[in-house]
């Protein structure tokens, strides 16, 4: 029983981070309609930034997050403005390959700049243990989880209540009509890409204290984030949150009770099954999925 609880807790803690990364991807995928294969690399950049700020200036991740997040927002805006926006009217396939190129570029730029070493942010506070009823977790993981949940909920309200959020949802649904009624589409694409990048960056900073960073550190997250987005439904922030937690749980449960070597297979299996049974995601998408190619 304790094993099950421990496994679930570990899975949910992990899932919180997946949710945060996925929410960012969901914004980009849902609003800008770009399959961003470089999403994991955005996480990786933030992890490096966290590491260097801690190593060089002893800036705790929980302080540097306030520097890194706006910077990464800006980076996302620049990416959209100078690399993705000129491609806006190309076919989705072309966009996929531009982001793939970007991913190769960023991974290897990191290799050129920092080498292949595995670096770890060793922030002592984050490594302390917190234990309730025999279930343990570190402060770092708990913080990451709580911040992730809080941010996803905040984003959920942003999308629901603010004009910016409404515009983004409208864009996700039908960008042509949004343009037609006078909404500056390109400007809001910059906002969406910036926000999406910032979310990925926050995730990168938060996992910094317990995950080593190296040039391929983010690669793993890209496909996982897509799985979460599809599970939760395109454009559905709450869905991404639940999808992330669900996937984290699936991963650890499969690891503990089937075989750790098959964790990822379980995740992909769930992905394909959900795609088949409910292509609109478990919780349904709020966007018209047909626009990104879903029947």
């Amino acid at each position: 029983m304790n094993l099950l609880v421990q496994t679930l807790v570990a899975g949910l803690l992990l899932g919180g981070v997946y949710a945060l990364i996925a929410v960012g991807l969901n914004l980009i995928f849902g609003v800008v309609k770009i399959i961003n294969f470089a999403h994991g690399e955005l996480v990786m950049i933030a992890m490096y930034a966290t590491f260097w700020m801690w190593t060089a200036w002893s800036l705790s991740p929980y302080i540097s997050i306030f520097i890194i997040t706006p910077l990464m927002f800006g980076f996302g805006v620049l990416l959209q403005r100078f690399i993705l926006q000129p491609m806006q009217n190309s076919s989705p396939t072309i966009k996929i390959f531009v982001t793939l190129g970007l991913s190769v570029l960023l991974q290897n730029l990191a290799l050129v700049l920092f080498g292949g070493q595995y670096r770890s942010t060793t922030f002592p506070w984050a490594e302390q243990n917190f234990s309730v009823l025999g279930v343990t977790a570190t402060y770092g993981r708990i913080t990451a989880f709580l911040v992730a949940i809080a941010l996803v909920i905040a984003l959920f309200y942003l999308m629901k209540k603010t004009l910016t959020g409404k515009v983004l949802r409208a864009l996700a649904e039908d960008r042509e009509t949004a343009g037609l009624i006078g909404i500056p589409v390109k400007k809001y694409y910059l906002v969406a890409m910036g926000l999406g990048t910032a979310m990925a960056a926050i995730a990168g900073v938060l996992i910094g204290p317990f995950q080593s960073v190296f040039p391929l550190a983010g690669a793993h997250f890209t496909l996982l984030a897509f799985v979460v987005v599809v599970l939760g439904g395109l454009g559905n922030m709450a869905g991404s949150l639940i999808g992330g937690l669900f996937l984290g749980a699936v991963e650890t449960l499969a690891g503990t009770y089937i075989d750790p070597a098959l964790q990822q297979v379980a995740v992909f299996a769930v992905f394909i099954i959900v795609l088949l049974v409910r292509p609109q995601g478990i919780f349904g998408g709020s966007a018209r999925n047909a626009e990104v190619g879903l029947k």
Partner: protein, 347 residues
């Protein structure tokens, strides 16, 4: 005119056949073999692209092909020529696992499903140690001979893969101009309209998938015999056999007949050249350049090299007229755009 182009083609095929006469440099022949393997896989990948279907999981079929021939040969002593045929069968059977996603998902979602499919197979190949030897992989025995597809020099390999590539190209051309290809291409731009005409597009798509997978499996099997070492990281590699063929196809011209051939012929030596030129300098620099080149190429020629050349050709024709009037102009090269883009609301 038709006769003339036939002579041209025959002449060039003959010239390709004479490459080993011009050079006996084993490395150059090796690069040519790799080019032809990629020509084959890309042409196979492109058969799905006729129907506007983007696969990012062809490594799955390639890997199935490689493992089929290797396991049959090394563990069961089946002749590798038979193994190649068996590989086509297993790859085709494997592709049936993607049948339902193919028919239910469109555009990027199918692409993601194929990606996850190939990754799953890679992990399973690592896991299934008794069958696959796991990550350690399978090495084919060094015994040589034509019957065993194993030679000390590159020339025989070159001729075998050249023949295979020509067959693949032939099949691809045949499909392109057949009724099936015509319907496939039409379904790429408007699936519903084609179905309204009574064409059973699901069946067509499935056929395209199976043919594409079988051809890819054959090249995977050949590559296994050619490269001796078969392991999950390589033979199920997403970058090498899922992304690269798709990339070749896109850069050459997705959904055209000549595009994938041109793409593979341009991209394979480019990667080779970048690696040899920059190896030993800063680590990773070649891939940085590759990444930048990729972004630029795709952006400058979104329709691929072949359509770029066609456009150039059209520009010099007297009856030309201005192009690209609509922001969502969908050339014949990107047939899937209508389905997948947010602007495709008209369908």
């Amino acid at each position: 005119m038709k006769k003339k182009s036939l002579i041209w083609t025959l002449g060039l095929v003959a010239a390709a056949g004479l490459v080993p006469v011009f050079t006996s440099d084993q490395y150059i022949l090796h690069v040519c073999v790799m080019i032809l393997i990629y020509v084959g896989v890309t042409v196979a990948w492109n058969i799905l692209a006729f129907g506007g279907i983007l696969s990012l999981g062809h490594a799955a079929f390639f890997g199935i092909g490689s493992y089929t021939v290797a396991i049959l040969y090394v563990k069961m002593d089946v002749n590798p020529w038979l193994g190649i045929l068996a590989a086509m069968v297993t790859a085709a059977l494997g592709s049936l696992l993607l049948a339902v996603p193919l028919l239910r998902l469109r555009g990027p979602f199918f692409a993601l499903a194929t990606l996850a499919f190939a990754e799953s197979l890679r992990l399973i190949a690592i896991y299934a140690v008794p069958l696959t030897n796991g990550s350690v992989g399978i090495t084919t025995p060094p015994t040589q001979g034509f019957a065993l597809i194993s030679f000390s020099s590159r020339e025989p390999y070159y001729y075998i893969v050249l023949a295979m590539a020509l067959i693949a190209i032939g099949i691809s051309i045949w499909i392109y101009y057949s009724k099936m290809g015509y319907h496939l291409r039409a379904s790429a731009s408007d699936d519903e309209a084609v179905r309204a005409l009574g064409v059973r597009t699901p069946r067509l798509k499935l056929a395209a998938l199976v043919i594409s997978a079988a051809l890819t499996g054959a090249f995977g099997a050949f590559a296994a015999m050619y490269l001796f070492v078969i392991d999950p990281e390589t033979n199920f590699s997403t970058p090498l056999y899922s992304i690269q063929p798709a990339l070749n196809g896109i850069i050459g011209g997705m959904g055209t007949v000549a595009g994938p051939i041109v793409g593979a012929i341009v991209m394979t030596p480019l990667g080779e050249w970048l690696r040899t030129t920059f190896s030993g300098t800063t680590q990773g620099l070649n891939f940085v350049i590759y990444g930048v080149a990729l972004i630029i190429i795709v952006r400058v020629m979104p329709g691929g090299i072949v359509s770029g050349m066609k456009k150039l050709y059209r520009r010099f024709r007297p009856e030309n007229r201005s192009d690209g009037t609509a922001p969502d102009a969908s050339g014949p090269i990107q047939p899937e755009q209508e389905l997948a883009n947010s602007e495709g609301g008209r369908s």
